[in-house]
Every structure is written in C-alpha cells, then in structure tokens.
Assembly symmetry: C2
Amino acid sequence: MANDKKMVEQITAMDTDFAQWYTDVVKKAELVDYSGVKGCMIIRPYGYAIWENIQHDLDTRFKKFGVENMYMPLFIPESLLQKEKDHVEGFAPECAIVTIGGQNKLAERLMVRPTSETLFCEHYKNIIHSYRDLPKLYNQWCNVVRWEKTTRPFLRTSEFLWQEGHTMHENEEQAVEETLQMLKCYEDFYRETLAIPAVTGRKTDKEKFAGARETYTIEPMMHNGVALQGGTSHYFGDGFTKAFDITYTDRENQVRYPHQTSWGVSTRMIGAIIMTHGDDNGLILPPKVAPIQVAIIPVAQHKEGVLEKAGELKALLSEKFRVKLDDSDNSTGWKYSQYEMKGVPLRLEIGPRDIENNSCVLVSRVSRQKTFVSLDNLVEEVEKALVSVHEELLARAEKNLAEKTSVAASHEEFLDIAENRPGFIKAMWCGDSACEDQLKDETGGVKSRCIPFVEEHISDKCVCCGKPAKHMVVWGRQY
Amino acid sequence: MANDKKMVEQITAMDTDFAQWYTDVVKKAELVDYSGVKGCMIIRPYGYAIWENIQHDLDTRFKKFGVENMYMPLFIPESLLQKEKDHVEGFAPECAIVTIGGQNKLAERLMVRPTSETLFCEHYKNIIHSYRDLPKLYNQWCNVVRWEKTTRPFLRTSEFLWQEGHTMHENEEQAVEETLQMLKCYEDFYRETLAIPAVTGRKTDKEKFAGARETYTIEPMMHNGVALQGGTSHYFGDGFTKAFDITYTDRENQVRYPHQTSWGVSTRMIGAIIMTHGDDNGLILPPKVAPIQVAIIPVAQHKEGVLEKAGELKALLSEKFRVKLDDSDNSTGWKYSQYEMKGVPLRLEIGPRDIENNSCVLVSRVSRQKTFVSLDNLVEEVEKALVSVHEELLARAEKNLAEKTSVAASHEEFLDIAENRPGFIKAMWCGDSACEDQLKDETGGVKSRCIPFVEEHISDKCVCCGKPAKHMVVWGRQY
C-alpha cells in the first residue's frame, strides 16, 4: 500500500491545479513525451494506441457513408494557398514554410499543409467534369502543421494528426446535407465511442473557418468548465470551386460549379477524453478506445496455480477484448495504482481463494465497485462490466455538462456567471459581432461557442446591447 | 468489343516503351495524379486502398513480433540531425528545410524528416535506463521527404509514405537477430502477400545506409530486368547510441550502450507490384492487396432476374471478399477491359443462361482462363480461384526472376551481359569499392545489389580486377 500511495501522490489534484493535473496525467500515463522541436509532441505507444482505436472506429463510420481515403501532398505552393482570399488570410500567418530543398533556394515557397482544401480543389478540377463524377467523398488521415505560440499536448500543438474529409456535390442541398451528416457522425462517435456528450450547432460568422460559408461544430464540456472545439464540419458553397474554376456539366447539360464541404477531427480528441473522464487518480479511458480494456492482476501470484489460472483467463478474454496480464514482481498495490493511473476501465483480480470459489473480482475504474463473478460466464460478465463503465462515464459527463451550463437573461447576470461559474452560458444575441467582441473583452475570454440547432427562448433582447435578439447562443471559455 | 479494343489501346505496350507503359498504368488505373508540387504525388483512392491493405497486413505481422506503433514529430532540428556524422552527410543534402514559422525566421532551421533515427534516439535517451527497459520495439507509419531531382510515381518521389521501425537492444547479438528477423518478415510479406519473389542479402559498404554498420536488403526483379530496392533493415551497432549518449544499466549493473536497428518499406512497393505483375492490358493486383478482389459483371443485364441475381451474389461474396458489382450502363466489353486494366484478380460473369444452369463464369486476370462453377459452392470456388491467381502470379514472377538472372565468370562476360541481357548478374568480387565504381562506369549503371545470404562459388577471382574474390555479389541496374 505504500507504493500505491506514492503512485497516486505523483499526480497533482485536479482542484489544486487543473493544468498541472493534465500535464501530470499525459506524462505519467505515458501518452506523450516532449520533443526537441518546440510545440511538436511525441505520441508514445500508449497514446498512439488510443489514436489507432479512434481511427479504426471513425474510419469504419466514414466508409459506411461511401467515403474513400486517399493521400494529398504535404506541401502547398504559396500561389495555390493564395487562390481563395479568406482562406489564405486565415492560414498563411500560422504556416511553417519550406524555402530550401535539396540545398537550393526554392523558386516558390512551400507551405507545410495547415489544411488541404486548396490541394483537393486543384485535384478535383482535374477529375470532375460531369454530374456522373459527383458526389466525390474523399478523406485523408495525415499530419498538419499550424505554428502555435503556446502549446499543450493534444490540445494545441504545432503539428497534429487528424482526418480531413473533402467532398464535392451537385448542389447546395446535397452539400449542406453532407455537412450536417458528418457533424452528426462526430456527435454519434463522441457519445457512442468516447462516452462524451456535447453541444452541437453553427458557428457565428466571426468564428467560422477561413473561407467557409457555414461552420458547424461539436463542443464538449471539460471537467473544469472549459469548452473544447471537438470537431468541425464546413459548408463552402461554391466559393472555392469558383476561385479554382472547377465546373461540371449537370443533368440538364448546363455548366455549373459544384458545392463543397470539409470536416475534421484530430488528436485533440485525446485531450477531450482526458479532461472529460479523468480523476485525481489519473486517466479514465472509455472502453471502446482503451488500449488495455482489462488488466488482470494475480493476487498472491507466488502461490501454486495462480499464474496458471491468470494465464488461462488472459487467453480466454483475449479472444474478445484487449487484455494485459501483469505478472511482474511489482506489488499488487503498485499494480492497482498503475493501471488506475493509466485509465484501464476494468481490473480483474484473481487469487487462491477466488480460484477455489471458481470466481474472480472485477473492479470498475469509474465507480471502483468490486463485483465477484463466476468464471463460468466470465466473457459475458466482462462484456457487461465494460458496457457499464461506458454508461457510467457518459452519465457522469452528462451530469457535468448539465451542471456546468447556466442561463443568463441579463448583461449583469452574464458577467456574474462568467466570473463565478465556469461552463457554458446560454444567452440571447443580436447577431452583431461587436457584441461578441465586447463580451469577450469584458469577461477575459468568453466567446460564442455556437448557435445550437435547437434554440431556447430566454428573452427578446441581446444580452450585451439590449437590441432585439436573433439567436440564442451558447457561450464559453475554450481551450 | 469496339470499346474493349479502345481501352486496351490506351496503354502503351511494355515492349514498345516500358517507362511509358508504367506511366500509362498508374494514371489510367487511377492510382495517382500529379500535383502542383514537383515530385509529390497524389495517391488516389484506388492506389491508397492498396496501401491500406499493405499496411494492415504488415502491421499485423509487426505486432506479432511485439512491435508498438507511435508517432514522432515531422521536423528535426538541424543540430539534432548533425549528431551522427555519417548520417547527416547522407541525408542533409536531400532535405527540405523549414526556415520560417508563424511569419518569423526560425532561430534554428528545421529539416522535414527524411528518416527519424535521430528523433528516436533523442526519445530513447529519455526512456531507456535499465536492461528492464529493453528491448524497445517501436514503429511509425508516416510521411517522409527526400528532395529528388528525377521523380516517378511510387518509385522515387520527394514525399513518400512508409513505415520505419526503430529498435533498441541489450547487445549486438539481439540487435542483429532483430535486423535479420525484420528482413525475413519483409521477404515473407513480399512472397505471401504480394506474390513477389526476391533476392535478399547484405549491402556492400558503399551501398549501406548512412550511419549503419550493416544494411540488409530485399531486391525484387521487375518485368523489364531492372531491380528495385524493395526494403531495407539496418544494424547500427552502438554508433548512434554513443553519439546520443544513450546508456543503460545491464544485468551485471554495468553501464552500457544499447545496440540499435531500423527497418523500413514504403509506397514504393506499389511500384514493385505494378512492374512485377502488370501486362499490356494494365495492372494485375495480387488478391491479398487488391481493393477489388472480384468484379461481378452482369451479362444481358436488362433481362429479367439478372441484376437481382448479381446483387445476391454480391451480398454473398461480400461477407468474405472485396467485391464490386458493376451494373452501370457501360457495355459488357468496356467493363471487361476496365477491370482488367485496374488489375482486378477475378471477374465473375453472370447472365440469363448461367442463372438457368445455376452457375456462373469465373475469369482469372492472369491466365484469362474461364471456369464454369456452380452457384452452390461459389464462396469456396472464388476462394480457390483467388489462391490460384496468387500462385500463378508468384510462379510467373519466379520464372521471370530466374530468366533474368545470369552468371558472369569473366570481366568480358560481365560487360556483355550488362549490355545485352537485362537482369541480375551473379559475379565474384574482391571486396574493393573501386571495382564497384569501375563496373558501374563501364556498364553505365550496373551496381552491386547485395551479397546474398547463400553465396555460390563461380570462380576464385574478382570479375573486375582479377584479384582473389571475397564474395559472390548480385549485380544489377536499379530504379
């Protein structure tokens, strides 16, 4: 138990310093290491395995929608990035730029892709000619670079991993449908796979993606009341297709511009998992993406038959789950703390007395509840226990989201909540970005997160200027 | 049939111009498109799906060896690359270099990774302390950049996708064992999955990887008699670990340097597939990596029941295979050519008479042989037919390898073969790199490919200088 205590003490308590707690968790759970390149992270095997599980799940969802994966170059010639005015203004300032290749100064500078709309447009121009070529539903899994001043593992890094979907459609209706469908896909994934509920909606003009006509967003709420932009889906209209002169011949033999979307989520989702589910003992991983779903800890493993039985259980469970048997000579207490810290959803304890009783003990990482189960139907019991961990996580996160959502009917109330109650604030808005600026300044950072799909009626007036309200907006601080 | 002919004519015949044939195939089979960035390729969905199948197969093999995936940064600070003398000499000249980030000139230039030994070493220094931390078996799937003057899709591009394994071991014995094990892994993969036989062996000092103590290579033989370096596995000894001061405490409590390996294969393998198996009608894909394994072509599809039956067969076969049913209104002949050109291993034809007979026709892409099979055991028949395509491809490639391997006992014979018989040349060598240079100059490009694991005795003398021979070397031109 001495070891046990020591392990737990290594992590700063959430209430003491949430930022330090986060840093402790990502380091001590061996998710990342810092690299010699400022702002770039090393994703260690335990962290990368979470990403692989995320990729596999999302990729399966995408493919069901008919999306095809492909791969675009890492570099964007400067002139190509400049083709769409708003887009270049948004992204050029944060680009890493290659100026030398093969020991020669390049005639044209190359931007390391911050996102690939321009590359996809250039390619689509070559391959889209007729309505028969539409829709095009392409996606790529890749690395992108956005030069950041202040960085944090997973949340904001100069290089990160993501997927970017880029689609082309015959008309506005189909493109908007795609945009919303992919946002829904993200929402389902967050809930069903990551056990994370979220607010979804449309960004205000001020917060839109550079070059988009509409940006839709998914915004989960972290444990400390700070929101995270967890994924976005953009409708571009024909802005890029006009700039890139991409046309097709429609069913009536008319030449038209296709309508475009893009949508993406990134390794930032791992940050969302950590800050939604973690606790003072470390990480808690949703079972569907946990690299280890069950940690088998033999009790009194020197006693005859214990390791043998533990090995049998490992073989049995490995057919269906991701299982680790820790038969190292570390103390049982150390092992308990270790796998708690690493967020393994389920611990299985098996000792001499359990073997006698033909049973074992399952311990949930969330509730810490112990359940004695018979070895006769162990696979079913483990399955049930993992489902239950997912449900507990989701229920807890929903409670947190509800508790950290306030309603502000007046300017005064808005400022009071912004100062004293971390979380989302629902409040009315006139539609003027000047009010967004003012609220952000007055609160030191509370911004519009989105106009949710279902807007409640709180009052008739903008919470800032008092003019007639156009929308209910969800506001909040963000990572 | 008019369409059929036209399709085939679009591809230049191999014998007319092999290079043009290759370019035609990669473009017309929609494997790649050219991008606006010189030397960078767009990997289109059909090409990328081959890569995904390759990744899945190889990754499963790696994980069986206990290899863990992780992710290193894209950028290498110039000072880090310079830590190992031979390594920087080999790679610095072909680096793309980032000099600007976030609109500011960087204090230190960043190399876009050409390979990641230095990054792995920097990380290993942080996490390796004791023999208990060894071995470390890490791998990453990523993009790398090597600035190339002359480029060709898949074969030589400025950016390419690959996997790079980087491992650390307690001593030389274990590291060398790993190096050879991974080369064997590649050899098995080439044969079992890609149906490609190859020569394997050790590179001469002149042809080694920059910084490696030994480089092992797998060298398949293309259809036109040119070899391809298809994958390499390097043993580094403690060269890098000394340069990076990575030490561990061994089992006797002594401080020692670990021994290191790295090994990699890339999207170049897709080039090997094309040039090993393809023919004048286009691509031929080995069934295990083919994005479409079976193309179902309905015959007289306007007749009652045909499309319905074709749909049933698709549903049935999709449970086990990757299947495409083409019910478009293109002609049957056009479809036949189209899926031949795209290298689909097996075509399934189903028409009214077949349905009456409760049968269908399977056509092999390799032998073009037609087989009538009963629908009662279709899954088994398709399985058998795909295995048979793999075996036919492998047998054909082995025949090509044997036919394109010559033996040269004298200098004169060597030069004659180099000029007149494309392919490998087996010949004795004294061990002096001056002879490698001379033979390369005299032949306009024939280089040592490797010293194979089993060396035949051809004569006692070096084929070039006549001094006592140390090794039998396999020589050849390369992509």
